[in-house]
């Protein structure tokens, strides 16, 4: 499979000269499986340029896997061109709620006065699915969702294909107020879904000294993400969901802190950036793009 980052900013889009290197679009990662099947992880503002790219080589079917419905993970949906192409089958997966269906919750955003087009009026054939704790097959891949600690119902996704595993946990606070290294693995949110991943995209919103002011906000400190990755036996960590207040230079300082907490080679810990492409196949994991 191949993964490409279209947006890796957290909370709010943050365009501008100080965020050019890593990008200002919010969460969206495209995953192409070996048979050409297309998965889209989250629908942040990075989904707009992804939709333009897909529109150049249209697909008949694609799967949008939403981790949760905060706006920074949903706002791009209304600007995703394949949704406005009749005949395209779009499957949207997201966390279940005991109160409202996934479609009804998404329609809160995709309806006036927040958005001019109603969900029901979108030309593509849209089918909604509750994200499953049990593995489901999408093309040649096995996809499983796991509930994780954030604000409100939230899942992470584990995608396995051809003996390689990619895990996507963009919004996650494994142990609110706690130290990951002090806890048994089975009590750690996200450990089950992340274990032995070849590539882990993970929330890395806060420096350790910023975290105490943000306990319970649903995001990770560097200690959290690196502790979880080490405990779970992850091989490559992609720091994701960059704080909108962190400019490029600050992100690179954060990367340095993360690498200090990693026993392996520096190149196994990277900062996500728009355009980052990762190939996962029988030969291993390879990064393309300029990424550090």
């Amino acid at each position: 499979m191949q993964a490409r980052v279209w947006g890796c900013r957290g909370s709010l889009a943050a365009p501008g000269p100080e965020t050019l290197r890593y990008g200002g679009n919010t969460s969206c990662v495209e995953v192409r499986l070996d048979d050409g099947s297309t998965l889209v992880l989250d629908a942040g503002t990075g989904m707009r340029p992804l939709g333009v790219a897909i529109d150049r080589q249209p697909v008949d079917e694609l799967h949008v896997l939403l981790t949760h419905l905060h706006l920074d993970h949903l706002q791009g949906l209304g600007f995703f061109r394949p949704l406005f192409r009749p005949g395209v089958d779009v499957h949207i997966w997201g966390p279940a709620s005991p109160v409202q269906s996934l479609a009804d919750r998404i329609a809160i955003y995709l309806s006036p006065p927040l958005f001019p087009v109603r969900l029901a009026d979108i030309p593509a054939r849209v089918t909604f699915h509750d994200a499953s704790d049990d593995a489901v097959s999408i093309g040649p891949a096995s996809v499983r969702a796991g509930k994780v600690t954030h604000q409100g119902p939230t899942v992470g996704y584990r995608i396995e294909e051809g003996g390689r595993t990619l895990v996507y946990l963009p919004d996650h606070e494994p142990l609110p107020g706690g130290h990951v290294s002090h806890e048994p693995a089975e009590w750690m949110s996200g450990h089950d879904i992340a274990h032995d991943a070849d590539v882990l995209f993970h929330d890395a919103q806060y420096l350790d000294d910023e975290y105490p002011q943000h306990i319970g906000w649903g995001h990770s400190s560097i200690e959290h993400v690196m502790g979880l990755a080490t405990s779970a036996g992850v091989r490559t960590v992609v720091l994701f969901h960059h704080d909108p207040y962190h400019v490029d230079d600050e992100l690179e300082a954060l990367l340095g802190e993360a690498r200090k907490r990693w026993d392996g080679p520096d190149e196994d810990v990277r900062l996500a950036h728009e355009g980052m492409t990762i190939e996962l196949d029988g030969e291993g994991v390879r990064f393309r793009g300029w990424g550090r």
């Binding site: 706690g178 693995a185 009590w187 750690m188 949110s189 450990h191 089950d192």
Partner: protein, 140 residues
């Protein structure tokens, strides 16, 4: 570094344990298989032994070791304890019970248990909070 000693716990259990770890109110957790998986430091004072020493044990064994009885002194069946009602009937329950801790002290305890039902109404376990009360008056 953290180690894996058992089955991964579900998120509602993880969150309940996190809550309990930060409370001065005694509480214990039973998972969906009926295993006692955690009690907090406040509970250790009433149970009479640290959780680290007791470890994960079947809730049935835990109840028997504490010799749970009704307020009139008659032994409580597992299904009739607040945790048992919450587990088997999937509803909250409250009761005054007596229990003998590992320290040999018999205590009167008010206990409230409620089932941890997930977003798809699946049972993840039972959370019980409890607190010691003075010896109840007759008929209490």
């Amino acid at each position: 570094m953290a180690t894996s000693a058992g089955e991964p716990k579900s998120l509602p259990l993880i969150l309940a344990r996190e809550l309990g770890s930060n409370l001065a109110t005694p509480m214990f957790l039973i998972d969906a298989d009926g295993t006692l998986v955690f009690y907090n430091e406040a509970a250790e004072l009433l149970i009479g032994r640290p959780f680290a020493e007791v470890g994960e044990i079947p809730a049935l064994d835990f109840g028997e070791e504490l010799a749970l009885s009704d307020s009139d002194g008659s032994p409580l069946r597992r299904r009739d304890t607040p945790a048992g009602i919450a587990f088997f009937e999937r509803r909250p329950a409250h009761k005054l019970v007596t229990a003998t801790g590992y320290d040999g002290v018999r205590r009167h305890v008010e206990a409230t248990a409620y089932p941890l039902l997930g977003t798809t109404d699946d049972l993840h376990g039972v959370l019980t909070v409890f607190w010691e009360v003075r010896e109840p008056a007759d008929g209490a």
